[in-house]
Structures are given as C-alpha cells and as structure tokens.
C-alpha cells in the first residue's frame, strides 16, 4: 500500500508536466481551432534557453535562477507565442483542418532545428559562451542546484521528493489555480470562452478574435515553456525528439479532456503519469513485451480518440471545405503547361542514363523511391483529404516483411515484394479503422498513435526484426529474369519507369470513377452514402492503396540501402517527410517525386558546401550575386505587380546566396576548408522545409501552385499593359487567382473604387446628418456565388427600418455585410457617413453596430450572468438589467443554452438596453417565438428606437414588423426592389416582394 501511494505521488508529479502542455494544447485548440503539435518544440527551446542562460552566465544563486526562469517563461515565451501567432496561426484561422495540422508539423520540424543550429553556432563558430549539450543528462533545476531530496516519514512508508519535483508540484498547482481564475474571473477569460462558444457572435459583441487568439497562444506557449523548464531536470533530458514524445503523451491527456475541457486535460496528464508508474510496477505480466510500458500513453490516446468519436455528430474528411485545385495555367496552351514536367522527366532520365556518377545515382535512386512513398500522401491527403502521420510505418512494415520473407523462405524478390506490400496494406487497413469514425485532427492523431505503437512494439519484436540488436534483414538487389538490378544505374532506370507508371496510375485514379467516389466521401459522407458509395469501403480502400504505395516505395528504398531495420523509416522522420511534401504540393504525383528528390539530395547538397574543386572563388561569388539579385528582384517585383511578399521563395534564394558566400569565406556552417557538414545540413534543411511547410500549408498545391499563381498574375499584368498599349479594354474577370495570392486591392476606408456610384447613392441623403448606417451599392458573395448584387439601403437613427423578403433573398447576407461578418466585394458601408467597409465585426461592434443574429445572440455554453458580462462589464449595469428583467436575475447562474427561446431573445437584447448601441440589426428576431413573447420583443425595439438607436429589423414574416417600422425595404434575389415609408406600402407590393421574384429571375 505504501508503495502504491508513493507511486501515486511521484507519478502525479511527473504527470503534471504533461498536464501543463495538455492545458496549453486544449486552451489554444478551443480558442483558435489549431491543435499545436509544436508545443514539444517550444518546450525544448525553452528548456535549452534556460540551460544556456544558467551556464553561459555562470549563475549560481537562487535569485538569478529565478530571474532566468522568469526571463524564459514571462519574457521569451510570450514573445515566441505572439510571433508564431502573427506569422503562422492567425493566417491559418480560416484554413482547413489538414492545413492546420500540417502547418504545426512545419513548426515542430523547424523550431528545434533552429534551436540546435543556434546552439551549434554559439558553441562551435561564434563565441557566445554557450555550453555544449553533449552529455547533458541532468539540467539545472530552478530551486536547488545540485538538487536535494527529502525523505518524509509517513508511518508505514517513506516518501522521497526532490527539490526538482517540488518545483514541478508548486508550478503545477499555481498554474492550475491561475488558469481557473483567469478563465472564470477575468474579462479576457470570459472573452476567450465566448470565442470558443460562438466565434462569430463573439466578434459581433466586440470581442476581437485576434486578441483572444493572441492571448491563447501566449498562454499556451508559456505553459509549454514552463513544462520544458521545470520538466527538464525531472525527465533528465535536453534532446528535442524526447520533448516531442512528451508532447504526444500530453496529446493523450488533452484527448482525455475531450479536446475541450482544460481541467479534465490537466487531470488527464496527472492520471497518465500515475497510470504509467503503476503499470510499470504492477503489470508484471507485460515484462516480456518490449516497449509495453512506453506505449501506454498511446493506447490511452487511441482509445480516447475512438471514445470521443462516439460523441462527434459531424463526421467528415479533413478537407471537406477545400475547393478543387485551381488551374492557373488555363490561359496557356497545353504544350506549355506540360513542358516543365516533360523537361523535368527528361532531366531525370538524362541524369540517370548519362550524367550522374555512382554517388549521385544513389541519390537519384533514393529520391525516386521516396517519390513513390510520398505519392501515397497524394492519394490519401491530396485526394482523400485524410492526414496520416503513419506513412513511415508502412515503409518499415513492407520492407521488414519483405526482408523476413527473403531470408526465411528463400523466395525471390518479386513474391517477397508482393507479400511485403500486401502486409503494409493490411497495416494500412488497421490504421484506417479509426478513420471510419474520425476525421481531421483526431484522425491524424490516431494514425500517429498507431505509428508509435507499431514502432515500439511490433517493429521491435525480435522475430520480426531478426533477433535482438540492429542487425535487421538484408534485402539484396533484385534480379528479374534477364535483368540484373545489382548496380545503381539499372536500379535507377527501373525506378524511373516505376515512378512514371505510379504517377500515371495516381493521375488516372484521381480522374476515375473511384477517384470521384473518394472525393464524394471526402466532401460529404451522408451525401456520398445516399448516392450509393460505400463509405467504409472507400475509406479503407484509400488507406490500403496509400499504404501499398508507401510500402512499395519502401521496399525499393530498402533494396538500395541493402538492409532494413526499425530505424529505416521512423515516425519522426515521417513528420519531416510530410513537411517537405506539403511544401512542394500534396495534390500532384509530380510534386511528390520532386519532394522525394529534394529530401534525398538536400543532405549532400547542403552538407558538402558544393564540393567542386574546379570552381574558383570568383565563380562562386558570381553565383552568389545571381542568387542574391534574384532574391531582391523577387521581393521587389512581387510587390510591383501586386503580389504579396513570398517568404519561402525569397528565403530559399537568400539561403542559396549565403551558402555560396559561406563556401568562399568559410562562414558557418558550410566550412569549405574543413569537412562536410551533414548534421548542420540536416538542421538547415529541416528549418527551411519546416518554415516552407508553415507558409504553404494553406495552399494544398504547395510551392508549385503558389508559383503558378504568381506567374499567372504576372502574365495578366503583362496582358493588361499590352491591352492598354493597343487601346483595348482589358477584363480580368477570368483570372482564377485567389485573393491571398493576388492580394486584390482592398477597399480602404475613405476610398471607393467607384466614386461616381457612391456619390450618386449619397445624393439622396445630402444634409448635415448622414444616416447612422448606410449601404451603398454593396455587393457580396460566398465564394464564386454572388448573393448581393448592389444594395443601397439607409437606416436613420431613431427609426425602425424593416427589411423584408422571402427565404434566400439575401436578408441574412445583408446583416452579415452590415455587421462585418462578411466583407463586401464592392461598394461601401458607412457609419455616420464614415466608410467602415474594411473593418471587421469586432471593430464595428466597438463603433456601435450590434447584430442580433438569427437563432439568438447568446453564448449557450456560458451562464446568463457571463452573457450579460460580455456587454456590461459593470456590475451595477447588470443589476439594473436584472431589475428590469427579473427572469435574468433568477437564472443568473444557469447556462444560457437552457433558457427558453423567448428568454434567450430577451437575454440577447436586454443588456443592450443598458448601453444602447448606435445601430441594432436584428435578424429574424421573432423566429420561432410565441406571439406573446413577440409582442414583448417588439416593445423592446420601440424602446430602443425611442432612445435614438437606428434599427434594422430583418424579417421574413412581415406582419409584426410592419406595425412598428418607420420605413420598409423589400429585397429579392439580392436586389432592393422597393424602399419607402411604411405608409406607402400596400399589399400588392408585399405580395410582389414574396411572389414577384419570378419576374426578376426571368430577366
């Protein structure tokens, strides 16, 4: 019993380190929708920074240690969090799940690589006084150095707790209390919870989503940093991959909390620590299963995810919202579109047949085999919309099986290859099982859990990996009939053929009936099911096919290196691969091949500093100037033709320039006079590819499509100039380049892109008092579908304007545009005559525009009091509000979602009465309410009007509103068909508004 309790205590202390990360994961996931897999890297970076501060400054006193601790956690971490927020997370807010997962993997790859590179620089090249981290297995604690252990005699047993453990305990308790206080008792906490509950509505209530997400990232990063600094001396680690392991364990804790509840996630972390300790001590039956203990968290992760899936109502693939790939080359002739690919293929063939030496042939073989492996992502993610982090496991599975078959049965290569690939396919089906229930992030996490479990248990099974040790299985190069692929050249030729065949197959699959079925399932499972596609079969088939392809490539990679061990393709290496594929493009087979070649060649290219003795220094300086000039030119020309600055491209060019110069002047890390720098090259490439993946995660076609789109913009610009020169009219309606790439000129406040139209519209209201809210020739669209085709509407203060129209007329769109939820593509929105078209909803809310959206403007997950608090931070105002509406006072502590419809509407409007807004827009305020309640609500509106508020009431049912409105506008099919005083409304007009759309539609 004594030991049981000892393990409970010590396990809980270790577990609270996971809790810290898990709380950060949950907080930022719920606030922003991004599950930051990079917290491991952040924890590592913080631990390293603390370690280096202590050592570089020779700190020995407790005070200075605490100061360093605060520097790392309170200064560095918030800055890092905010940097990541601005550079990566904010632009990702509206991206699809797959892009979010892949972007955080980019950071996970890039951040530790950068840290390692800097530590390398600081110890080897520049004298920063940093300390080598060789043999750093005990990092300094915060409290006592060296650490001290106390024994507490608890009667029947002793409890030993070290100073480092105490530090963890104290930090965990403080954090738990502080988080609770922050979320429950501060305005920022309330706002964050409001954003989690209903992001759009939070914006309408003046909560800035970018502010709350900054806060979430800063807090999350601080928590990860804390975990790193206090966790390092407990886990005795200063090694980046190990922090990734901790982060994946924390992921399991976050899943225990359903990815929603911070307290549960916190408890989950503690529980995982305890369970791991107990399993290690009491599960003696598992002593014979290697890796059992360390797999426990991943079992928890997997089970938790499957359990969570039962509660998920919406099932879908990951990229359900991803539009089809845009064809930026539609303006080019077919030969011109294919030319780069043909040249690329010809280049590879020429290399393989003619130019490459023995060494480079090896790199080509590796690259092409990786290309096959990476094409499996084209199938699974590019086509199927599912993110798998287990592709490396399929590679190992197939290669190890093939090796085992070759060794044990003496079968020739082809049958062994087939069996290996099939077994990988079977593993693929097993990994796919969670996909039947999960999509998006949970699926990615489930594949990760399965990959780790395979790696730790299955691949370490001595029968499967050829005994204890790292001997592995030999995989001789194949001999097929008269063909002998013993030498690199014939193997490379074979792979060129296989890669071309696979690319052709994948391309055809994308266009086939099966491909369409996959897309159907990805976009909408229910819809696909009703149109006769078996979801189960389709999903399993995609996963199996993808695993087959990965395994196929894996066996060829193994036959080139001649041997396979569990280290041939590790899960962590697989994360790096994914980053590279994302960077180049995840939808095209050609991009996958390019990514494969980049992975294969990067180590040598960067590591050897381009090892060509015949090059004179001035040659290299010349090349550097060309790269540098290209970088500068890209940066400036992009701006000139209206393209945004493209960090990946400029960055790559700049790095190339740097490497050339470094080679001449022996700058770090390409020390030309010394030896090759494979390790540094790894860090540089990991950093570059990681950064690239972060930037391009949103563009499913990666750098290729990005470049194609840029070129399209340039071509269009040239054509425009040409047209102007020839005196023709140029229309760019046909250009498919999306805004984020083309950087369409935004409508700036005070400017209008059609001044004459605005003036025309404005003429009606010439005078000293412009209307409170004014829409001038506003157009708005959802994607390619335009919903408003030029609306003019004015809402004077102290008046009620009713906007009437049938279902689908554009009423809600008008509300959304007026309140800033949707940005107008054309025209202006003015408040008191000032153009606010460019302002987002929370900024407009702060200027007095309030929308009570359809289906109640309340946060159902917050209590009634908290709902009121968001608009009325002052308690006295709330008291007044409760006096006026006693029902709200009575139910203060209930969740708003439990109120009746009428009560919810009152809760929406009542707080506004205390501080009336300038403009109140109510979208279908009477929908679904009993007549008695409706009257109560209408009285409220009259009260608003009397207090000078400009009201825009949007209704489908005209009767109630007509009684109180001062003026009425009819909207139909995105046009205002009539606008005038209520007195002039007659029943014919009313009928026409609802029935007359047939005439307008036929126009």
């Amino acid at each position: 019993m004594g030991e049981f309790i000892q393990l409970l205590v010590s396990g809980a202390i270790a577990g609270s380190i996971y809790s810290l990360i898990a709380a950060g994961l949950t907080l930022s996931y719920t606030s922003t929708g991004i599950f930051n897999l990079a917290y491991g890297g952040i924890a590592y970076t913080s631990a390293m920074l603390y370690f280096q501060l202590i050592n570089a400054l020779g700190i020995e006193s407790l005070g200075m240690r605490l100061l360093s601790f605060f520097l790392v956690v309170v200064v560095f971490c918030p800055l890092l969090g905010q940097l990541l927020n601005v550079a990566v997370f904010r632009p990702l807010a509206r991206a699809n799940d797959a892009a979010k997962v892949m972007a955080t993997i980019g950071i996970l790859v890039a951040l530790p690589a950068l840290t390692d590179l800097l530590v390398d620089l600081g110890t080897k090249t520049w004298d920063w006084g940093l300390q080598s981290t060789d043999y750093v297995f005990l990092t300094p604690g915060v409290w006592k150095v060296p650490s001290e252990t106390w024994t507490y005699d608890l009667g029947s047993f002793d409890l030993r707790i070290s100073s480092n453990q105490w530090a963890v305990l104290v930090v965990a308790v403080i954090v738990a209390v502080a988080l609770w206080a922050l979320m429950r008792h501060t305005r920022i906490g309330l706002q964050m919870r409001a954003v989690v509950d209903r992001p759009d509505l939070a914006g309408l209530r003046g909560v800035s989503e970018s502010f709350t997400s900054s806060a979430a990232w800063i807090i999350g990063t601080m928590l990860a940093g804390l975990a790193g600094v206090v966790g390092a001396p407990v886990f005795n680690s200063l090694e980046s991959n190990q922090y990734n392991v901790f982060m994946f364990i924390a992921t399991a804790a976050a899943v225990v909390g359903g990815l929603r509840s911070i307290p549960l996630a916190f408890a989950g972390g503690v529980a995982l620590g305890v369970v791991t300790s107990w399993v290690g001590r009491y599960a003696t039956f598992a002593q014979d299963i290697r890796g059992f203990e360390s797999s426990v968290p991943f079992v928890v992760l997997l089970v938790g995810l499957l359990f969570m899936a039962r509660e998920r109502t919406r099932r879908s693939g990951v990229v359900a919202d991803a539009p089809p790939a845009t064809d930026y080359t539609s303006d080019l002739p077919a030969w011109r579109v294919r030319l780069p690919w043909i040249l690329g293929a010809a280049f590879i063939v020429l290399q393989v047949f003619v130019f490459a030496d023995q060494f480079w042939l090896g790199l080509w073989v590796t690259g092409l085999a990786f290309g096959l492996v990476f094409m499996s992502w084209v199938l699974l993610t590019g086509l199927g919309g599912m993110v798998s982090l287990a592709q490396a496991a399929f590679v190992t599975m197939a290669a190890m099986t093939a090796g085992l078959i070759l060794d044990k049965t003496g079968l020739p290569f082809i049958p062994a290859l087939i069996v290996g690939v099939i077994v990988a396919g079977v593993l693929g089906v097993i990994v796919a099982l969670p996909a039947l229930r999960l999509g998006g992030l949970p699926l990615a996490l489930a594949t990760l859990a399965l990959a780790f479990m395979s790696e730790r248990v299955l691949f370490e099974w001595s029968w499967f990996k050829n005994g204890q040790g790292t001997k592995g299985w030999d995989i001789p190069r194949p001999k097929l009939g008269p063909f002998d692929f013993e030498d690199e050249k014939s193997l490379a030729v074979l792979l060129v053929i296989l890669v071309l065949a696979a690319a052709w197959l994948v391309r055809n699959l994308q266009r086939s009936v099966t491909g369409r079925a996959i897309i159907a399932v990805r976009n909408s499972e229910p819809a696909a099911a009703t149109s006769g596609h078996s979801i189960v079969r389709t999903k399993l088939a995609v996963f199996a096919l993808s695993a087959l392809l990965a395994g196929f490539g894996g066996v060829f990679f193994a036959t080139f290196i001649g041997n396979v061990t569990p280290f041939t393709a590790t899960t962590q290496a697989g994360l790096f691969w994914l980053a590279v594929v994302v960077l180049v493009g995840i939808r095209r087979p050609g991009a996958a091949v390019m990514a494969g070649i980049m992975v294969a060649a990067s180590g040598h290219t960067f590591g050897t500093g381009w090892h060509w003795e015949w090059m004179e220094s001035w040659h290299v300086v010349l090349v550097a100037s060309v790269f540098g000039a290209a970088a500068v030119a890209t940066a400036f020309r992009d701006r000139q033709v209206g393209l945004p600055f493209s960090p990946p491209i400029v960055g790559v060019l700049a790095v190339l320039a740097y490497i050339c110069l470094a080679r001449v002047y022996s700058w770090y890390p390409i020390d030309w006079d010394g030896f090759d720098q494979y390790d540094e090259a790894r860090n540089i490439t990991a950093f570059m590819f990681g950064i690239g993946a972060m930037q391009l995660a949103r563009e499913p076609d990666g750098i290729l499509a990005f470049t194609a789109a840029q070129n399209r913009v340039r071509r269009d610009a040239w054509r425009r100039r040409l047209a102007v020169w020839q005196g023709e009219v140029w229309t760019d309606d046909a250009s498919p380049v999306p805004e984020r790439i083309a950087a369409a000129p935004s409508v700036e406040p005070g400017k209008s892109d059609r001044p004459e139209a605005a003036e025309e519209a404005g003429d009606q209201y010439v005078g000293d008092h412009p209307p409170a809210l004014e829409l001038v020739n506003v157009r708005a669209s959802y994607g390619l579908v335009e919903a408003l085709h030029g609306i003019d509407l004015s809402v004077p203060r102290g008046e009620i304007t009713a906007l009437l129209g049938p279902n689908g007329a554009g009423k809600s769109t008008t509300c959304a545009v007026a309140s800033g939820l949707l940005t107008a593509t054309h025209g202006q929105i003015r408040l008191d005559g000032e153009n606010v078209t460019g302002l987002r909803s929370h900024r407009r809310a702060r200027r007095g525009v309030v929308l009570a959206p359809e289906a109640r403007g309340i946060f159902s997950g917050l209590t009634v009091r908290e709902n009121m608090q968001l608009w009325l931070p002052n308690p006295e105002d709330r008291e007044l509000c409760c006096e006026r509406f006693p029902i709200l006072g009575e139910r203060q502590n209930q969740l708003a979602g439990n109120l009746s419809g009428g009560e919810q509407q009152i809760l929406t409007l009542a707080p506004l009465l205390a501080h009336p807004p300038e403009v109140l827009i109510a979208d279908e305020p009477s929908l679904g309410l009993a007549p008695l309640i409706v009257n109560q609500i209408l009285e409220l509106f009259i009260e608003f009007k009397e207090r000078g508020v400009a009201l825009l009431l949007v209704e489908e049912k005209a009767r109630d509103v007509l009684e109180i409105a001062d003026s009425v506008a009819f909207i139909s099919l995105g046009h205002i068909t009539w606008h005038g005083p209520r007195s002039e409304v007659d029943h014919d007009q009313l009928d026409a508004a609802y029935l007359g759309e047939a005439t307008s539609a036929s126009d």
Binding site: S10, G11, K124, T133, Q351, D474, E613, F675, D676
Partner: protein, 488 residues
C-alpha cells in the same frame, strides 16, 4: 518574364549534377588538395544537443571479454585448431583462412583507392553529440604516425573527411558513400549507433576497412572489413556462439569484493541490448540475483518517475547494483539511488567520460562515489601507453575526452592494420595481411588489450577496468586487466 521557381529548381539541379559530375572527374587526381583536418575544440565543448534515435551506448553495454568461450573450450585462435591454414613457409602465401564458421579469401579486384605514393587518405564518422572530439583523438594519433613514419614506404596518413551523422541513419549511410565515392578514402574510423548494417554492409561490399568501438553488428562476422578496437562486441546479441562479453565484468566484481559470495541487483534498459543482457545476466549471476529488471529507454520517454526503481533497491538491499541502461537512465538512477541512502556500490558501463563529473554541480553530485566499468583504458598516467597518449594529445593541443579517446584508439588500430599490409598497399594486400596471414596489435602497457584477427571478427578480447568518481574526478578503482589468456 521571370522564370518560375520550378524552372529555377530544375536549373539548379541541373547545375548541381553537372558540377558533381565534373567534380567526380576531378577527384581522381587531387588527393593532395584535400583540406587540412579541422582542429576542433575540447570535446566537451562540441555542443550538439543529444540526438534522436537510439542511445548508442546501450547497444554496447554488456562489456567485452569472452571468457565463456574459453570455458566452453571454444577453440581459441592461439592454438588455431580451426585454422586450416598451411604452416607458412617463406615465399609461400596462404590464399585463404578459416576461423570458426567463417572463411577468409580474396574474391575481389584489388584496389588502391585512397593510396598514393606518399599518402593514405582516411575518413572519420561519428555522432558528434555523443562522441564529441572524435577527430581530436584521431588527429593526435595520426600526428604521431606521421612524425614517427609508422607507415612503410614513407607514406603519411591524412584525415580528408569527417562526417557528423547527427544520429541520422540516412546521413550515416550517405556520409559513408560520399567518403568512399567522392573523397575516395582507403579506410574509415567510425563509431556511431546509427552505423546500421546498411552502412557497414556497404563498406564491407566495397572493401573499405573500418575501425571503431565495435558495439554495432557491422563490426562482427560475416563482415570481414570491420575491426573493433576491442573486437566484436555485439555478437552475443544475435547468437554468435561463445561471444559473451560479460564474464570479465563478473570477474572484476569478484576481485573487487574479494569473494564470489555477493548478491547483485541489475537494471536493464528496455531495448535490444538490455533484453539480451537480461538473459545473459540470468545465467551468469544465477542464484546471486536480487532483481534483474527493465527500465524505459530515453528514446521511449525515459525514466519519468524513478521512485519504483529506488524502492526495489531499498527493498532488496543488494551488495551491488549494476545499471545496464542507456546514459540518461544510468545517471538518473545513480542520482536517485544515491539520494535514497543506499550505500553499496552502484556501477554502470557508460559514465567514464573524463571531465564529466566536474561539468555541472548536478552531475558531480549524481556521479560522486559511483563506479563505472570501462572498456577504454582509464587515463592512468603511471602507464607508459597513457603517457604516450597524453604526449600525442599535447602535440595537437587537445583534451582527451571520451569521444576523443574512442577516436584515438580507432586511429591507433587503423594505422597498425595499414602498416601490416606493407609497402605495397592495396585492398588485397591489406586483406591478406590482416585476415589471412593473421594480425595482432602491439601495445604498450596500459593500452587496450591486444586484439587479433580474424578471431576478433567474432569475439572480443576479455579486458576491462573500473573507475570511481571521487571529489568530482575519476580515480582508477580497479586497473585495466585482461582476463583469460593474455597471449591471445
């Protein structure tokens, strides 16, 4: 109009490859242009965060020595009962030799790769994070070889390439290929836990001799180009008969306690080496084991909560605790077991790293009083070999840290092997001299035990020593000793 990035990449690749081809042609005649080896800093300063993958150390923790084969009357090389080699007459060369199950003969085209009239080109590869200073040791030893003209024919040795694989198996493989195909080295000194069979098989197939700390399987038969400076250490892990390297460790403890009547407790890492060691300990210490348990490896997350292991020690209170774990595990357990009040010796196989206990207060406290069994001779400056070693280091201004010592002994072995091939150096003459004619290192007192080939492709010399940390410094607790037949 601006070219697209695609074209840029293609153009870049074209340029790269064309230049690489050009370079390949040039390489043939520019051995002399090879850069001077990099003189790196003191080994402990070679910062590299501990890197991924496997802890290299735990792959070798069961230490050398194979008294067992002797006990089992495994035919020893010395008597050469298994040798079907003809007694050598002057002028008559044996063309093959058999040792145990393996036959050695020249079935390849001789090559003079990396050999010119006056130099021999060599390469080195390690994971810098664990063997920082590797090249310092190599430079120290190569420097002496060149000063003293140790190679026949007046050749000098030159370290032309060094690869830090960053614990990445792919980089290790590529680095080996690059050194052989681009740098054209004759031999390589390599010690890395990611020198997987893909690398060592490649070196073997291309007749590239490689020396190093032989804990990876590539240093063992059937490979005949791998030479561990203390033989093949991992043969036991895949069932090579008679390769049980833990016997000398048992002997040293019997000697230490002055009795065989002791009770030991052992922690093994939960990985290949630990699982194999666990089985060996069960036999070796049968009847004397208080416990023989597993601890998680660092790769798998490490020991997050050492409480239960400390409890095990206190509960059984053995005379001796052996930590057969990875580095992080050894230090974590040493620190916590010491803090718990256990008073017996706690020993591991990895923590003899000169300079380590003084490097941080935490480490000093954790290691103080603990023991480390070592395969690399301790720096006992009363020994002539160590005096020589320290003098060699002084010449290059380096500090003999752990990684550096591994490099030093790897270089020492490779130079002796190359010298044995004589003036007419090529891969065939090397193979003939070492594997067919038979070769034994010559050492001053205090150095590694003599190593012999072809025997030590299969087994390991049975030498071991022990140090203790006293006042944050290592002192020799038991001198480096070779059990069994010292004349092997």
């Amino acid at each position: 109009m601006k070219k697209s990035l695609l074209y840029k990449l293609l153009a870049l690749m074209a340029a790269l490859t064309l230049l690489a081809v050009a370079c390949g042609n040039d390489d043939d005649d520019d051995g002399a242009a090879a850069p001077a080896p990099e003189a790196t800093e003191a080994p402990m300063d070679d910062a590299e965060p501990m890197d991924d993958d496997e802890e290299p150390m735990d792959d070798e923790e069961p230490m050398d020595d194979e008294e067992a084969p002797m006990d089992d009357a495994e035919p020893m090389d010395d008597e050469e009962p298994m040798d079907d080699e003809e007694p050598m007459d002057d002028g008559e060369m044996a063309t093959s030799r058999t040792w145990g199950a393996y036959t050695y003969e020249i079935d390849f085209e001789p090559s003079t790769r990396g050999v010119t009239d006056d130099t021999v080109r060599l390469g080195a590869m390690t994971q810098d994070a664990l063997y920082g200073g590797f090249t310092d040791g190599i430079e120290a030893r190569l420097g002496r070889a060149n000063r003293d003209g140790e190679l026949p024919g007046g050749r000098s040795v030159e370290l032309v390439q060094y690869v830090d694989d960053g614990s990445d198996p792919q980089a290790n493989f590529e680095g080996a290929r690059s050194m052989v195909e681009n740098d054209e080295v004759f031999g390589i000194m390599v010690t890395s836990a990611v020198s997987l069979p893909q690398t060592t098989d490649y070196l073997d197939e291309n007749q590239v001799p490689f020396t190093g700390w032989g804990f990876m399987p590539g240093f063992c038969a059937p490979n005949d180009w791998g030479f561990g400076f203390n033989g093949c250490l991992s043969g036991f892990a895949f069932g090579v008969e008679g390769a049980d390297p833990l016997v000398s460790v048992q002997n040293i403890w019997y000697d230490f306690f002055g009795t065989e009547d002791i009770v030991v407790g052992i922690f093994n890492s939960d990985d290949d080496a630990g699982r194999a060691g666990h089985a060996l300990y069960e036999n070796l210490w049968a009847g004397k084991l208080a416990f023989n348990d597993f601890v998680p490896t660092q790769t798998a997350g490490g020991i997050t909560d050492p409480t239960r292991f400390v409890n095990t020690v206190l509960e059984h209170d053995p005379d001796l605790v052996i930590l057969s774990t990875d580095f992080a595990g050894a230090i974590t357990l040493k620190a916590t077991i010491a803090a718990s009040g256990y008073e017996g010796p706690v020993a591991d196989y990895l923590t003899y790293v000169p300079g380590l206990p003084g490097s941080s207060p935490d480490l000093g406290q954790a290691l103080e009083g603990g023991y480390a069994v070592t395969q690399v001779p301790p720096l006992d400056d009363s020994e002539p070999a160590i005096q020589q070693l320290l003098a060699d280091y002084e010449e290059v201004g380096a500090f003999p840290g752990f990684g550096s010592l591994v490099g030093y002994w790897s270089a020492d072995l490779l130079i002796q092997l190359i010298a044995a091939a004589g003036e007419d150096l090529n891969t065939a003459s090397f193979y003939q001299a070492v594997n067919i004619d038979g070769f034994e290192t010559t050492q001053q007192s205090g150095a590694l035990g003599p190593v012999k080939w072809p025997a030590d492709h299969v087994i390991a010399p049975d030498c071991t020593g022990m140090v203790q940390v006293v006042d944050a410094d290592y002192v020799v607790a038991y001198p480096f000793v070779c059990y069994g037949d010292p004349g092997r």
